[in-house]
């Protein structure tokens, strides 16, 4: 992270700089957001010599407003972070996936696959999700402890999305690895493939993300060639191969970008909802006891886990015209960043927002966003989190966290890299 200039730093409310992954890695963002909601609900977070500044949005209603106007606040100029001040030539050209696509093309592309993600599709997949969950838990049966992230929480969403895409199990570890490089690029742990003197630097992060994308996209070009030569019935890759938008087949680049998104979005976020869910349940033993005594509360508990963990810290947009939010003028071309953990603890929306309440009602959190870009995989995420905790708490009723979680250095993903747990009751 390049430093912010002293003049710019002086303008930060209480010195809070949301460009810093460290704030999130230390899990200190909630206090920062509480201050911002009260004192600076729409404020300009200055950039650095490398990154653009941005308007920071922390109120629930403001996130709703931006999400409801996808033509005014577009995604095609980037959705993670505030973007580079001086992007390298060629960046932003070529193929993009639906997450960085605007209306009207966005919905046309999304509709190619969205039947596979509807509540009905999820319901049909439930027995399979439960079977996979039990296979994962069987592997740690008889053990006293494990790394919950590596051995449990990451494994279910990885298996589900890779299964939907028709990828054989031998490829799943690579998908996990590439995803960590792409979304965890700013964390030294995932920079193992860059030169030692670059680890922990801006260049190390850039190279790591590029390497992850290059490897993931290369993998999918091979898969695509295979599906073209050996068509299959109903996996997502084959559906994309056969699809047309506006009378035209998708290009190789379109399909590869789509597959990259499905794998990354499908396995990273749910992993962190499950890891974060176990952490919060262990931190609130009364709520956990209530849930274990009354498993029918699980769907409501899942919603509270999603509100509480908000697996994605932010999405960013770019204004296409001069506009206003909460009376603050926003100029065309400026970035706005929507902070989900803040909206999900907004005192104007949620009663006692810092209380973890598995029966909270209403609980209209924005963990999946809303509107045009509402999380395509929300139904699967909900089902995976619910089924995992149903099976986990049934089979390991005494599971406890056994050491501090190691969190991801990122202001984008609320990631947990490692979580030591004790699976059985302490002797």
């Amino acid at each position: 992270m390049s430093p912010i200039s002293p003049e710019a730093a002086a303008t930060l409310p209480h010195g809070i700089n949301l460009l810093e992954g460290r704030l999130f890695q230390a899990n200190e963002m909630h206090e920062a957001f509480r201050i911002l909601r009260a004192e600076a609900p729409v404020h300009w977070n200055p950039g650095t010599d490398r990154f653009n500044g941005f308007w920071s949005l922390v109120k629930y209603e403001d996130l709703l407003h931006v999400s409801r106007h996808p033509e005014l606040f577009i995604s095609s100029k980037g959705i993670g972070g505030s973007g580079l001040r001086y992007p390298p030539p060629g960046q932003g050209e070529g193929s993009s996936s639906i997450i960085t696509m605007d209306p009207p093309r966005h919905v046309k592309m999304r509709r190619l696959v969205n039947k596979g993600f509807t509540p009905r599709a999820v319901l049909q997949m439930e027995p399979k999700i439960r079977a996979v969950t039990n296979t994962i838990l069987d592997r740690v049966q008889g053990r006293d402890s494990c790394d919950f992230v590596l051995e449990v929480s990451s494994q279910l969403p990885l298996a589900v999305i890779c299964g939907m895409m028709g990828l054989e199990e031998e490829h799943w570890p690579a998908m996990f690895d590439f995803t960590n490089q792409i979304l965890g690029s700013g964390d030294a742990e995932y920079q193992a493939r860059v030169a030692p003197d670059k680890v922990g630097t801006f260049e190390g992060a850039t190279l790591t993300a590029a390497d992850g994308n290059r490897r993931m996209n290369g993998f999918f070009r091979d898969i695509l060639a295979d599906r073209r030569a050996h068509p299959r019935e109903d996996d997502l890759v084959s559906i994309l191969v056969e699809s047309e938008v506006d009378g035209e087949r998708l290009t190789e680049g379109d399909i590869v970008a789509f597959c990259n998104l499905l794998v990354v979005a499908g396995n990273e976020t749910t992993r962190n909802a499950i890891s974060g869910g176990l952490i919060v349940l262990c931190e609130h033993p009364e709520e956990r006891a209530r849930l274990q005594a009354e498993p029918s509360l699980m769907p409501s508990a899942v919603e509270e886990i999603l509100r509480w963990t908000s697996p994605l810290h932010h999405m960013s947009r770019e204004a296409t015209a001069d506009t206003e939010i909460r009376g603050q003028k926003i100029a065309a071309g400026e970035k706005v960043i929507m902070w989900y953990p803040s909206a999900n603890r907004d005192e104007d929306i949620f009663d006692d927002p810092y209380r973890f309440d598995i029966t909270r009602d209403p609980n209209e959190h924005l963990a999946f966003g809303i509107g045009e870009h509402f999380c395509l995989g929300a139904g699967f995420a909900r089902a995976e989190v619910r089924i995992m905790f149903e099976e986990l708490l049934r089979q390991f009723p005494d599971i406890q966290i056994d050491g501090p979680p190691e969190r991801l250095r990122s202001n984008f993903i609320n990631g947990v890299k490692h979580l030591p747990v004790r699976l059985t009751a302490a002797r």
Binding site: V107, R120, G371
Partner: protein, 66 residues
């Protein structure tokens, strides 16, 4: 006074939140797995429920027709 409401079928993904908020107005149909408006004119007594459905729709696919 009554009003008309519509569901954008291009946007709808069958989450069913509207039917849960205002079952008198919205119906989730099995044949296409989407929500449909089943009341031509929404009476004032149901306006608040429809407003809630509009607010909660994950895809923001519902709107009043003037």
């Amino acid at each position: 006074m009554s009003h008309r409401v519509e569901v954008d079928q291009q946007m709808c993904e069958g989450h069913g939140k509207c039917q849960a908020s205002a079952p008198e107005v919205f119906e989730h149909r099995d044949e296409d797995d989407l929500s449909h408006v089943i009341l031509d004119e929404v009476p004032d007594t149901l306006t608040a429920k429809v407003d809630r459905a509009i607010r909660l729709c994950p895809r923001q696919a519902i709107r009043w027709v003037s």
